[in-house]
Amino acid sequence: MEDFEPKIIAFLCNWCSYAGADLAGVSRFQYPPNVRIIRVPCSGRVNPLFVLKALYEGADGVLVSGCHPGDCHYQSGNYYARRRLEVFKNLLNFLGLNPARFKMAWISASEGAQFAQLVREYVQEVKDAGPNLEFVREKADLVRFLNEAR
């Protein structure tokens, strides 16, 4: 498992977290390249089904990050996201899914360093958890078909 490179999908809110990630890049903070970013207008836009779909399609970890409570560009979007995603995370934990598969964070637009830190921490968490084999769609037959045609 030493050379396992996790694929992490990150849903970042446009006004804070996405800007924060951008700042991390501009400031040349080093962080692992395993995160693929999807920009959403607000963390409140994130439907928990996004998390399930990402895992289903093979993501090893899913990160959702938004503005700190009180700073939402749309006033209250992140408050709803906080309630929703905490209940959802609880449910996933009860289901028995490895808690490393889903992480929630607040990153503001000025927190470039924190974003890099978050990614460093989370990538290591997912590496330790191993690849997502338990909540991924069955596609062995399609993979086989794709490879044999070559």
């Binding site: 700190h68 709803y80 609880n90 289901l95 490895n98 769609r137």
Partner: protein, 322 residues
């Protein structure tokens, strides 16, 4: 509870409230109750209520949006009605709630082979079955649905008419023992357990149809763009179905057990639902269906909500600088 009380009260409701129809139960040929729609006061002679009922009648309410509807309601059904009112699916004025006492509902699955079996009667603590002229008396408590054994509100919480009779003692309401047993397992064992349950699912959606809270005209499983899960009953897809339906019911489910009793394959739905409700209760001190005018838990927020996000904690007054 006396059946003639029920009959007279329902007749009264029909006349006094000018009902178009009344949702209740009638005896089937085997003696077990089944849902029935009564459209005329004369037909009410068939109306009945006892622990052999199975479905939450509130699931029929959204169909009758423009009608004046009467409905028999034990605790769970009355709470479902409150939620439907709070979520704007029906008006308080159009529904006439006939509260009935509840001793719990039987889980038919626990009775085993029912071929040729007839339900004869219910007594104070027991009920009598008959097969080939042989009768046997069974202890009611041993055959109740799991949801009923831990029901927090057996008696109706809201009603326009109330039928007198004894109800169960309320319990805490979150299937404590089942949850405890499951949380004692390791996460891997729990996931295996739920995956095995998901493998039983045949995606008939009886659970969804039996649930009063599942009234969406277009359910997420029918979405083809984006398609969240396959139509085929693959284990992970089934798990997505179960998990998401439970999540959509978090803070909205009254744990009536209607879904669990409707499931033809006996999938364990109650554990996940109980946990979701318990989460909402512990995080936000919210229990659904107790007060008219309340908003659903996941449809509102408080500034002081618990915060478990990375980089979180209370951030009152912290401003974003960009």
């Amino acid at each position: 509870m006396r059946q003639d009380d029920l009959f007279l009260t329902c007749q009264k409701a029909f006349q006094e409230r000018g009902l178009d129809l009344l949702l209740g139960y009638e005896k089937s040929s085997s003696g077990f109750l089944r849902p029935a729609v009564f459209t005329a006061p004369e037909s009410l002679e068939r109306i009945s209520w006892d622990p052999s009922a199975s479905l939450n009648l509130a699931t029929y309410l959204p169909r009758f949006k423009s009608k004046k509807v009467g409905i028999l309601a034990p605790g769970c059904v009355s709470r479902s009605i409150i939620i439907l009112i709070n979520e704007g699916q029906i008006n308080r004025e159009q529904v006439t709630i006939i509260g009935v006492p509840c001793r719990g509902l039987i889980e038919k699955r626990k009775l085993g082979d029912l071929e040729g079996v007839r339900l004869v009667e219910f007594r104070d603590e027991s009920f009598v079955l008959e097969k080939e002229n042989q009768r046997r008396e069974l202890n009611l408590e041993d055959y109740l649905s799991e949801s009923c054994l831990s029901c927090a509100y057996p008696a109706p919480v809201i009603y326009d008419y109330l039928i007198q009779g004894p109800s169960r003692e309320g319990s805490k309401g979150f299937l404590e023992k089942r949850i405890k047993d499951l949380t004692r397992l390791s996460p891997e064992e729990r996931l295996l357990y739920f995956k095995r349950e998901a493998e039983k699912c045949i995606r008939c959606y009886a659970c969804r149809q039996a649930c009063p809270m599942c009234y969406c005209e277009s359910c997420f499983v029918e979405s083809s763009e984006p398609r969240w899960l396959q139509a085929a009953p693959e284990p992970v897809d089934n798990l997505i179905w179960l998990l998401t339906r439970v999540y959509h019911l978090a803070g909205r489910c009254v744990q009536c057990g209607s879904c669990s009793r409707a499931c033809p394959e006996g999938v364990d739905l109650m554990s996940l639902l109980a946990w979701a409700n318990q989460s909402v209760f512990e995080l936000f001190q919210y229990q659904p269906g107790l007060k008219i005018g309340e908003k659903p838990a996941l449809g509102e927020y408080r500034l002081e909500d618990p915060d478990f996000f990375w980089g979180g904690g209370q951030t009152e007054g912290k401003k974003c600088c960009s």
